[in-house]
């Protein structure tokens, strides 16, 4: 199928883009890498009147450090992160996540901002960046605001963007020294959307853990205080203390009724925990 007719514009700076976003009549879609929107247009799942290409705005392509926080412009691509063309504050965690997103041609074009705004529950960044405590920076003609990513992603394909507002950057705080990171996703085959994702960020010294269960057909399940999954306490032995039954209960409470779905998600999470406990990072495809 071919896309229905739409008007295409590519504003050259942010002010012009926000101006058009505020004033354009009809329905509008923003396009960055187009790796999801392109097929949706062609399948006529969306038929916007106007498509604004945001890749012409220089500030959206920038990446820099704000203190120890990494600020990625919305149009930074997965491949930019995979290849280390942007700074890293996650001990390589983000590069490893990026390297297993879909296929390389998708990573060459797909953007971190586009992925978050699209908010496909099975996408990697939605889960991984919630685990990494990311915030999004949203801008409209009336101003700028920041929002925790877990508050921004309200549900499947549903984010907290106001009319006239767009995501311009993602802010990722540096992970504490000595943190343990585990990220495992399970796909039917390499490069496909995940059926289950487990992301684990453990600070052994502080006794703190943050766990996200993703690819669950709604917003990822965030356990900001993951101690209940580890018998109430997180320490150096966290991997041995992982309680699969507690994870199963959490998923059941979140509304996952199928036992087989819970089994797969709990298995994947357990492997993410085990990965976090290992000293060396392992390839992300081990569960695929």
């Amino acid at each position: 199928m071919k896309a229905a007719r739409f008007a295409y514009e590519r504003p050259a700076d942010l002010a012009a883009l926000l101006e058009r976003l505020a004033e354009a009549d009809g329905s509008v879609k923003l396009i960055a890498g187009g790796q999801s929107l392109g097929p949706m247009l062609n399948l006529r799942l969306v038929e916007p009147d106007r498509v604004f290409d945001v890749t012409g705005v220089p500030e959206l392509r920038r990446a820099n450090l704000d203190g120890t926080t990494l600020v990625l412009g919305a149009c930074v691509t997965h491949a930019d992160i995979e290849d280390g063309r942007v700074p890293d504050v996650t001990g390589g965690a983000m590069a490893r996540v990026a390297s297993a997103i879909a296929y390389r041609p998708v990573r060459n074009r797909g953007t971190v901002g586009g992925s978050l705004v699209h908010a496909d529950p099975a996408a990697d960044w939605v889960t991984a960046l919630i685990a990494l405590r990311a915030e999004v920076e949203l801008v409209s003609r009336s101003g700028r605001r920041r929002l925790a990513l877990d508050a921004f992603v309200r549900g499947a394909l549903d984010v907290a963007l106001e009319p006239g507002e767009m995501l311009v950057a993602v802010r990722i705080p540096a992970i504490p020294q000595g943190s343990a990171w585990g990220y495992v996703k399970h796909c039917s085959k390499i490069g496909e959307f995940a059926h289950a994702i487990g992301a684990v960020l453990i600070d052994r010294q502080a006794g703190h853990g943050r766990v996200v269960i993703g690819a669950i057909e709604r917003a990822p399940l965030l356990l900001a205080d993951a101690r209940p999954l580890f018998g109430g306490r997180i320490g150096a032995d966290f991997s041995d203390r992982f309680d699969a039954r507690a994870a199963d209960d959490a998923l059941r409470e979140a509304g996952m009724s199928e036992a087989i779905d819970r089994h797969v998600h709990v298995t994947v999470l357990a492997r993410a925990v085990a990965q976090a406990a290992r000293p060396a990072p392992l390839r992300l495809t081990e569960a695929a």
């Binding site: 199928m1 071919k2 896309a3 229905a4 007719r5 097929p39 399948l43 006529r44 399970h186 039917s188 085959k189 390499i190 490069g191 496909e192 959307f193 059926h195 036992a259 087989i260 089994h263 797969v264 298995t267 994947v268 569960a287 695929a288």
Partner: protein, 790 residues
């Protein structure tokens, strides 16, 4: 095994494919690359419902001249693919639906506009008034008397029912009787390039020129002529580069008929390119088989008999030219596979449902048959407590029986099946594998070995297909061979090459006889105006049939060249011989180039009694017996299965294959690798599911999973070469075999790995989810059993 020396570029040479230079550089010329002045695009209005009465089709007033419905197609005949088998019920597939629609995607109207997007806009504006009827979506339920009917006047939903019974009752006292219900999912053929057609009227030739992505251009001409009611001479089919066929490019499409009808009237070229959604949901599927099978055996694994009820979901219409019954009825004759046993019964049903027609996909019914039989053989082995290979070794046809007529009168031409099995077992090192299993895996996965053996009847001809009575019965295959004035060679065949490498391999056949360099030999194919009639490329037949015809034509050319050469050498032909592109006489020799130059450019130097046919020959060929060649292979695969997530990793894949004498082992390897990829898709990934309203549930490749590079291993291929006694050079057809055995081998491997957990997978694809479901169910049974025991 052959010991013939392999010389230069002839039969047996491992040459890279000539055609790859353009194909791998993106310079292939496909239907989608054709541009014509004033060409317009067509989009189809398709049924959104599986089964519905058509109350009305409302076309907006402004588009009346751009939208066409069945009411416009005056005089166009429906597609009829009738089988002559007794009891076959005929379906008439209207080119555009009338009365009711019988599948999602069925054509209701077509729209023409300067671009496809605009044509789709028009299609979206057409309003359908349909009254939904209960959908027939389950082939087993469709056989029941209470089912809704796809074709009301039939009274049931069965295209054809067949039965074979050979001494069946004698098996009934066997000590081992193992029954299983086994099935393969409905699939799509998914060639890289979809279907497509560009049609225009050539006023100079008074011909409708149809560029179509077809693997059988001459058959398309038959079908178009019949449906449009115009003489064959007014139709020219050109199949340019075609990106994979696999059976899908064999059928006559209603879309082609619509475009041809339109081009005859509209005054400009028209184009339709199938998109992936149309391919997945609308035009044809394959593979959906269901078996209830029982094996009867002695305790040592000797087969006493097989009993089977096989049902195939044939979809709504009988596709042209193969018909709706080829697949199921073939099951009865090929189920015994490479095994020799004394008692057999098989009943088959070809069932009509509200789905798109089923087509013979690479391997045709053999993939399903192999899956059913090889899985039940493993079940026999488990029941008898013996190794699966023992059951096979006990029952394989033996080399001293060749040629061998099996229980369904299939004539095995040659081969050493037990040797193939032995070599495969040796390659995977069975004892080491069993030791590894006993030790267990550090990562918690479970390792298993699976075997699967098949035979593939290929290039079967008139005597076989006349019995089917379908619209296409192959006879002699013809080839043209012409030397050019500068000593190059042109070959013409009516079959088509779309991945088989025929531009290289047929040049090798010619080189074997004439010595013309492969680089100086051109293959003309895919154009009804320039090639002899052929039923086309299907049934793994082209190397046997077109290869045989090319060899025959080249031999005749060599004889004629010898006569001319002898005259130039002032020698008697009997004292001369033709070798390596030269005529060699008692006192000197002369090249084919010189002979060609003489015939075309210096006829004054020819003998007065020279053969006036010159250096251009069209020759026909059939093997000595046309019951087909039998190639075969033993597949052995080692997998590691993750029981908690259902992931299957292929650790080792061994294929011991016997395709007779191989014209080009490199091309054969490529065919096997491609088939293996498709077989892995059948085994682990591909499934076109339907809901109970007959809606196809996969509409993109995000839902319909194909194996990718990471999922397809490099197999270890071991060639045996037992010549066929009936063909030129002893070649056998091998094009489909790679896709036949993998699903069974992988199922057996998974079951070998998970059997100790109480898991037995009997349904393809063995997706991760199905495996996890089975593992959890088995764990549940074990837990319940343990509680009961306590």
């Amino acid at each position: 095994m052959t010991a013939r020396p392999i010389l230069g570029e002839g039969v047996g040479a491992r040459l890279p494919r000539k055609e790859d230079d353009r194909l791998m550089r993106g310079r292939g010329q496909y239907v989608g690359d054709i541009r014509m002045p004033k060409m317009q695009d067509v989009a189809f209005v398709r049924s959104p419902l599986a089964h519905a009465r058509i109350r009305a089709i409302h076309v907006p007033e402004g588009y009346r001249d751009r939208v066409f419905t069945a009411a416009d197609l005056d005089g166009v005949q429906p597609i009829r693919a009738v089988s002559g088998l007794p009891g076959f019920k005929v379906s008439e597939q209207p080119v555009l639906a009338t009365g009711k629609v019988r599948q999602v995607g069925e054509l209701l109207a077509f729209c023409v506009a300067p671009t496809r997007a605009e044509a789709e806009d028009i299609a979206a504006s057409v309003v359908l008034d349909l009254e939904e009827l209960p959908a027939v979506h389950d082939m087993l339920a469709a056989r029941e008397p209470a089912s809704a009917l796809v074709h009301e006047h039939w009274g049931d939903n069965v295209f054809l029912e067949t039965q074979v019974d050979v001494n069946f009752a004698a098996a009934l006292d066997a000590p081992i009787q193992v029954s299983r219900t086994i099935s393969t999912a409905r699939q799509c053929m998914a060639p890289l390039e979809g279907r497509g057609a560009v049609v225009h009227l050539d006023h100079r030739m008074d011909q409708l020129v149809v560029h179509s992505a077809s693997q059988m251009p001459h058959i398309v001409r038959n079908g178009l002529s019949e449906c449009l009611g115009i003489e064959q001479g007014r139709i020219r089919i050109v199949a340019p580069d075609v990106g994979g066929g696999f059976g899908y490019k064999g059928i006559l499409l209603a879309e082609e008929i619509c475009l041809a009808w339109l081009a005859l009237r509209c005054g400009h070229p028209v184009r339709w390119l199938e998109d992936r959604r149309e391919h997945l949901t609308a035009n044809a599927n394959c593979r959906e088989h269901h078996y209830r099978i029982t094996a009867y055996a002695d305790r040592d694994g000797t087969l006493r008999g097989i009993d089977c009820e096989a049902t195939v979901d044939s979809g709504a219409y009988s596709a042209y030219p193969f018909s709706a019954c080829l697949e199921a009825a073939q099951v009865a004759s090929i189920l015994p596979g490479p095994y020799d046993f004394p008692s057999y019964r098989c009943r088959t049903w070809s069932v009509a449902t509200n789905k798109c027609p089923i087509l013979p996909y690479r391997g045709v019914a053999r993939t399903g048959v192999c899956f059913a039989l090889e899985l039940v053989l493993d079940a026999v082995a488990r029941e008898a407590g013996i190794e699966p290979w023992v059951v096979r070794a006990k029952n394989l046809v033996r080399p001293e029986q060749m040629p061998f007529d099996n229980i369904t009168n299939k004539h095995f031409d040659s081969g050493d099946y037990p040797q193939a099995l032995a070599r495969a077992l040796d390659a995977v090192d069975l004892p080491a594998l069993r030791a590894r299993q006993a030790a267990g895996e550090a990562d918690g996965r479970r390792v298993g070995l699976g075997l699967s053996i098949y035979c593939e009847q290929a290039a079967h001809g008139t005597s076989v297909y006349s019995g089917w009575g379908i619209p296409m019965v192959p006879g002699h295959e013809q080839a043209g061979a012409r030397l050019t004035p500068d000593g190059g060679l042109e070959l013409r065949i009516g079959a088509h090459s779309h991945g088989q490498g025929l531009e290289t391999t047929l040049a090798q056949v010619a080189h074997e006889i004439l010595g013309v360099p492969v680089a100086r030999t051109r293959l003309v194919h895919g154009d009804t105006a320039m090639t002899p009639y052929s039923t086309g490329s299907w049934g793994s037949r082209v190397m046997v049939m077109a290869g045989g015809a090319v060899a025959t034509a080249c031999r005749e050319l060599a004889d004629r060249a010898l006569a001319i050469g002898a005259h130039l050498l002032q020698a008697e032909p009997v004292n001369c011989r033709f070798a390596a592109g030269r005529v060699i006489g008692p006192t000197g020799d002369v090249s084919l180039e010189e002979i060609a130059r003489t015939w075309y450019r210096r006829p004054q130097d020819l003998a007065p009694d020279v053969n006036p046919g010159g250096l251009e020959v069209t020759a026909g060929y059939k093997p000595q017996r046309d019951s087909g060649t039998f190639s075969y292979a033993a597949h052995a695969v080692v997998v590691a299965v993750d029981p908690d997530l259902g992931a299957v990793e292929i650790l080792d894949y061994v294929i011991v294959e016997d395709g007779g004498v191989l014209v080009n082992p490199l091309v054969v390897d490529g065919q096997i690798c491609g088939g293996l990829a498709q077989g892995i898709g059948t085994a682990l990934y591909e499934e076109m599911a339907f809901d109970d309203r007959g809606q196809p549930l996969a509409t993109t490749f995000a839902d319909y999973l194909l194996p990718g590079a990471a999922e397809v291993p490099d197999p270890r291929i071991d060639h045996m070469e037992t010549p066929s006694p009936y063909t030129q050079f002893g070649v056998k057809g091998i094009g489909e075999g790679g896709a036949i055995a993998p699903p069974a081998a992988l199922a057996n491997a998974i079951n070998d790995a998970l059997g100790p957990l109480g898991v037995e997978m009997l349904r393809s694809p063995m997706s991760q989810r199905r495996i996890v479901e089975a593992v959890l169910a088995a764990r549940h049974r074990t837990a319940v059993g343990a509680r009961a025991a306590a």
